[in-house]
Amino acid sequence: MIETKEKILTGKKFPFCPGCGHGISINQLAKVLEDLGYKPEDIVIVSDIGCSGLIDPLFATHTIHGLHGRSPALGLGVAMGLEQKPGKKTIAFIGDGGATIGLQHILEDARRNVDMTLILLNNLLYGMTGGQISGLSTRKYKEIIDFEKDIPPFDVVKLAYASGARYAVRVNNPKNIKEKIRKAIETEGFSLVEIASLCPSYGMKKLPELMAVADDEEEFENNRPPTHIVSKERNSLFDRERYFSPEFEAHAGKRTGILIAGSAGGGVQSVGAFMAQAAMLSGMQATMKGEYPITVGTGFSVAEVIADKNEINYTGLDNPDIAVIVTEDGLEKVKHRITADTKVYLDEKLTGKIDFSYKKLIIKPFHALVNRKSAALLAVAYVLKKEQLFPLEALKKVLSDHRLKDIFLDTVARVEELE
């Protein structure tokens, strides 16, 4: 035990109405902290809005005063930030109104079980705004005021316990407050202390009345170690970047826009990236944009690639020079983007699906030669061979570094069978 206890409270006059229960809990907390030898600099008091939120000037500790119902979340942020500073303690306060709006934050605190204590002062109502009921107003209390009496309150203590709190307790008798707060402060991990609190101005005026309407005391412990937050320095994202030094000569000079349209699972996005990278290996600038439904495993998959010997600013592809279409999903998605200038490479099986004529149409049996996962790659390889944008060798070079290179290169080799 240390010899001179440092004062946890500033000694400022409490702001509460006469007879308000909140002062009791604050005094008891201060005593516990002093008994345990905490200095003001070791403690962070987190408060929010409502009568229970008026407390920060009362504490000589670090304080942070935030928004209604958010002190459990703000407090968790503080607690996580202080994890690497041993000996510091985060204590958040909330009222029953705050606990209603911020219920999920309490469950999240419990689930995470980072070292902090939440003190919930439950006076069964919203004091600051005139005594409206909260989600923690008990049925017995609501019977008295004859409002929503069939709707039970949240049992936050049980909910916190069920969510993984190391310690969760409800105290109604003021005699037990100090002991339970002490146990919570000494608990390493998340602890919740719900304390029944008098509100003579709007609610229960006398202690026996309050104890008669409060929900029963209860106490739970989870045998669970606290969660520690560990920061660690990590390598640059650029360290694992693949660089492309030009080693081939591009044939195409002007900006060329290519649409690759297929279905989910058809490797379209990868093929788009391979194509862009092959252009880069050929000394061109390139862009690649993917488009697919939010449910990525189904429906269309479209990749847009632009290659240009000059710098590319605008990345829109308004007038595709080439469209590679290998599935019906892809066709549906891009058919309105085909213009008179677009050269369309279409899979043979889609021949019957087009009810309009493309000016420049090349039909090839991509799917007949390879499976659905490889058709887009084969089609793009074929396009490169025919269009001479840049060497097919550049594409092969890109693929040769891939873990699936055997399958990919095999697919590209089959381009010879397409004449």
Binding site: E41, T63, I64, L76, G77, E108, A286, T287, G316
Partner: protein
């Protein structure tokens, strides 16, 4: 000419790498399209990564972490940012450093998650109750994504404030060949404790900003509060000291606006009387438009705003020198135009606006020539 570091990269990667190198040390996030890649990269790169259960928790955790001295970052799109608004106001009033990356997508509401937009500028203009300014930086290219991310961290720390990095889906989910060797190493920013005389949590020091003392500090007990407060951080009603503190929240940015202001002014020659003014993702199209116009012998200047808010008054002096101003931005009503000129812009000002697709170079050229 190249440094041998030509890669196929996206803006998300550049932003997260830059933020980490600049001193941001924790990412708190809730997933939303098109912030998917910022989230993914942050998980790989940030010293601490926290998956929050919702956007309100995200901002609250960030605030708590920031108050202990961390430099937190998040990334979201309008639906998520909207949920954060009250907490952003809280962090702003508490004066907590943090960087919020916005990946703009097409609204209103859920809108179209994978369609880009530049529709959230007006929202940011009014995001703080009372109309107080928050710094908003908007990258127009990958170099900007790099340097403005650094500036965002620097500004957040120096002025103790949330800072927005306003990007768009096209910037963060588009891959482009880019020579990473062009990106210069970034300065890492950290809290500097400079206290003159007695320490008070909200006593203004350099840059009209209070010294930052973190929660848990061993030397001083400090206070942070979102309610109207005096220099000690105690809640006050509208007394003069508290009002001076509240007014300072604006003053610190307005007085130091030269420090915040970033732009690129590409002049075609001394005689240009037409200006294309743009920001963010539309800059690419504007640059191509300038190329086309130059090729056709037209002298047109391009001004790219990278600090969108607060508005620097000298911008108006610059605009006065032009006979024709085209403001190009991917939104329906011309949000920058409206911020600069209200609902009725002067006759010489025209907007090029569009939703659902990027503005094309041709559309800008057409507006210049018409």
């Amino acid at each position: 000419m190249t440094t041998g570091q030509l890669a196929l990269v996206d803006g998300s990667k550049i932003i997260i790498e830059a933020l980490a190198q600049s001193g941001a040390d924790v990412f708190v996030g809730y997933p939303i399209t098109p912030s998917n890649w910022t989230y993914k990269y942050a998980k790989q790169r940030m010293p601490l990564f926290l998956a929050a259960p919702d956007e309100i928790s995200t901002l609250q955790w960030m605030a708590g972490l920031s108050a202990t001295g961390k430099i937190p970052v998040t990334s979201s799109a309008f639906p998520g940012i909207a949920l954060m608004v009250e907490s952003i106001n809280m962090a702003y009033a508490m004066e907590l450093p943090m960087v919020i990356v916005i990946t703009q997508r097409l609204g209103p509401s859920t809108g179209s998650a994978t369609t880009g937009a530049q529709g959230d500028l007006m929202f940011l203009k009014g995001i703080i109750s009372g109309g107080y300014p928050v710094p908003v930086f908007s990258p127009s290219c990958f170099e900007d994504a790099w340097t403005l991310s650094n500036k965002a961290v620097e500004t957040a720390i120096k002025y103790r404030t949330p800072v927005f990095l306003l990007t768009s889906k096209e910037m963060v989910m588009y891959r482009k060949s880019f020579d990473l060797g062009r990106l210069k190493p970034l300065q890492k920013h950290t809290h500097q404790r400079q206290i003159t005389g007695e320490f008070k949590p909200y006593k203004p020091e350099a840059n009209d900003t209070p010294a930052f003392v973190p929660l848990g500090d061993d030397e001083f007990s400090t206070r942070f509060t979102a309610s109207t407060h005096d220099q000690d951080g105690n809640i006050r009603k509208a007394d003069p000291e508290a009002m001076a503190n509240t007014k300072r929240l604006r003053k610190k940015f307005i007085r130091n606006i030269d420090d915040l202001f970033a732009y690129e002014w590409i002049k075609s020659g001394p005689s240009a009387k037409t200006l294309i003014l743009t920001w963010g993702i539309t800059t690419d199209a504007a640059k191509d438009a300038i190329k086309i116009l130059t090729r056709d012998g037209k002298n047109v200047d391009l001004l790219v705003l990278k600090t969108l808010l607060p508005v620097h008054q000298k911008l108006y002096d610059w605009l006065d020198d032009y006979d024709k101003i085209i403001i190009a931005e991917e939104n329906l009503t011309g949000q920058l135009k409206e911020i600069l000129f209200g609902e009725r812009a002067p006759g010489k000002v025209t907007g090029v606006n569009k939703i659902g697709m990027m503005i094309t170079p041709g559309e800008i050229v057409e507006a210049v020539l018409s």
